[in-house]
């Protein structure tokens, strides 16, 4: 008795069918769900604590974009307490740790990140002039692996001078003190000089090299003068001005007004972090940093401390009050 030759044994047929079905299922499932990754973001910060407002803004902004800490993204925060050399070491450490992206919050940190990696995307904030300081080739086409938010510090320096003039009636002389290696403030010098002559102010320019220079410069300030504080923290010059000079001073950020400074004009730190988060979300989703133009900080705030004004014998004029976003009492 012959039985028709069996070309396929039933069990191997089932096996093949099952394998095919599984493949089809796996393919469709894989297609339906995008790959879920945990992104590692390195945070390079020269601050004294891990909770810098720009970093808070970054976390909040990324949360808004759908990247929740712990579930979609983790942060490797390195704050270097202003110790020299620590920033460069921290940048290299982050690169070795294999982070997907580095977030920085001022010029020195950004330059350290740029030196440490030419391939990992770097998104910066609190950089006053990204083109002049060599971070990017141009604002519209950054080229390279860096992009971010410009705090427009160089651009806004003349405006800070104007705020001082409006606030202090009869002001004649303004001191501009900054560190000699500070490219952002050095770049602002021509426009600040121009503004000073338009505003009929005498401008005393004092680039300093170290703490001794700084002390001498601060001693030269007479009552009735005013100070234009630098946009960059090198040598803690803004803090020194706040401490020592008892004359009206204008600072680049509202943070200082909260600590007792008279007035500030410049973008909010936290808002820059939130703005950077939008860029970072695009990069994590596949965009290349060289294609994302550098954005100018959106919220430019005027902050004034009414207490300090009273202590210094100044009345805040309506022009300042109408413009002020933040009034510290």
């Amino acid at each position: 008795m012959h039985s028709a030759p069996r070309l396929f044994s039933l069990s191997s047929f089932k096996l093949r069918a099952a394998a095919l079905a599984f493949l089809v299922f796996a393919a469709s499932v894989a297609d339906a769900q995008p790959a879920h990754r945990l992104y590692k973001i390195g945070v390079l910060n020269e601050a004294w604590a891990a909770n810098h407002p720009a970093v808070d803004g970054l976390k909040e902004g990324l949360r808004e974009q759908g990247f929740v800490e712990g579930r979609d993204v983790t942060y490797e925060v390195r704050f270097t307490k202003g110790a020299p050399g620590a920033t460069a070491a921290a940048a290299e450490e982050l690169v070795k740790a294999g982070v997907d992206l580095i977030f920085t919050s001022n010029e020195p940190a950004t330059l350290a990140a740029k030196k440490a990696t030419q391939s990992i995307p770097v998104v910066f904030t609190l950089v006053g002039d990204p083109v002049l300081t060599g971070m990017v080739a141009s604002l519209a086409r950054p080229g390279g692996n860096l992009t971010g938010i410009s705090s427009r510090a160089t651009e806004l320096a003349p405006k800070r001078l104007e705020v001082l003039k409006t606030l202090v009636t009869g002001l004649k002389r303004v001191w501009f003190v900054y560190h000699s290696s500070d490219i952002t403030d050095t770049a602002a010098l021509p426009s600040v000089r121009d503004a000073a002559s338009r505003l009929q102010l005498e401008l005393m320019v004092r680039p300093v090299n170290d703490a001794a220079d700084l002390e001498l410069a601060l001693k030269e300030i007479k009552p009735g003068d005013a100070v234009l504080a630098p946009a960059v923290d090198t040598l803690d010059i803004p803090a020194a001005i706040l401490e020592a000079a008892k004359v009206p001073s204008v600072f680049p950020a509202a943070l200082w007004v909260g600590h007792g400074a008279l007035v500030s004009y410049g973008p909010d730190f936290r808002a820059q972090g939130v703005q950077a988060a939008r860029l970072i979300a695009k990069i994590l989703r596949g965009a290349r940093p060289q294609d994302l133009p550098v954005e100018g900080a959106e919220r430019i705030d005027l902050a004034v401390n009414v207490n300090t004004a009273r202590q210094q014998g100044l009345t805040v004029p309506p022009k300042i009050l109408f413009r002020a976003n933040v009034v510290q009492r």
């Binding site: 028709a4 519209a140 133009p293 100018g296 109408f322 413009r323």
Partner: protein
């Protein structure tokens, strides 16, 4: 010997015919179903896209009009008539001091606008001859009687005639999209106020629109130039999309809607 073998072969033949028939009918019916459902899905997607586009267009329009409204709120009539009095009382205030008071108030209004409308970067006020009388800026130094003469520029000429003007989108620093909005009172030769408005807020609205996994939205201006797109480098290239069929279709729709509005 043959009978069982024959029955076996016949069985397989019947099975094969049966399978082909059933299978064939199944295949044909699922193809038909596939075609109709494809058509239906396509229609549904187009309807969804249209809805999102209309929604985004509405948001953009609301944004631009709200900025125009705020700038319009700073306009005051020119005090030509010496009997026009601030207090409404019987004794008229002289035209000169009225003008000074209005100029002061205008400066306060502009400063307040800078505080309350982050999208506005600067506001300029021009007198009836087109000379700049007041500049209040977030970035540049403020100026009173700056003197720049813009009588020939479209933002001045068109605003004086039509009382409102929306400039084509232009770029600052090659990367930030801006629009100039001009406003003027309904007088024969009014003074003109022009605000420079940062359009990034609109771009965020547009770039966040997603349809499915690959759908996106973009914006073209009246002439068909690309002014917003999730990929900003396309906008910076200033692409001209006026020949694209969907753009032509949309322009035709706008034109016919406008015709319907006319009495």
């Amino acid at each position: 010997m043959n009978a069982p073998a024959l029955r076996g072969r016949l069985f397989w033949k019947y099975l094969a015919v049966f399978l082909c028939l059933v299978g064939g009918v199944l295949i044909v019916s699922s193809l038909v179903e596939l075609y109709f459902s494809y058509d239906e899905t396509k229609r549904a997607i187009v309807a969804l896209e249209r809805e999102k586009a209309v929604g985004a267009a509405h948001r953009i329009e609301q944004f631009v009009l709200s900025v125009e409204r705020e700038v319009r709120g700073t306009l005051y009539p020119a005090p030509e008539d010496s009997s026009l009095s601030l207090s409404g009382g019987r004794s008229p205030v002289s035209g000169q001091s009225m003008r000074a008071a209005i100029a002061q108030q205008r400066e306060f209004d502009f400063l307040r606008l800078l505080r309350d409308a982050p999208a506005i970067t600067d506001i300029r006020h021009f007198d009836i001859t087109g000379k700049e009388r007041l500049l209040v800026s977030r970035v540049e130094l403020d100026a009173v009687d700056g003197g720049a003469d813009v009588a020939a520029s479209p933002e001045f000429r068109v605003t004086q005639v039509k009382k409102r003007y929306f400039s084509p989108v232009y770029f600052r620093d090659d990367s930030a999209p801006y629009m100039k909005i001009g406003v003027a009172l309904d007088e024969p030769t009014p003074e003109v106020t022009v605000a420079a408005v940062d359009l990034k807020a609109i771009w965020d609205v547009v770039s966040r629109i997603r349809v499915g996994t690959a759908g996106y939205a973009y914006v073209v201006d009246a002439e068909g130039r690309l002014i917003a797109h999730p990929d900003i480098s396309m906008v910076l290239q200033k692409r001209d999309l006026s020949l694209a069929p969907q753009v032509k279709g949309a322009q035709a729709q706008v034109a016919s809607a406008r015709e319907e509005d006319l009495p």
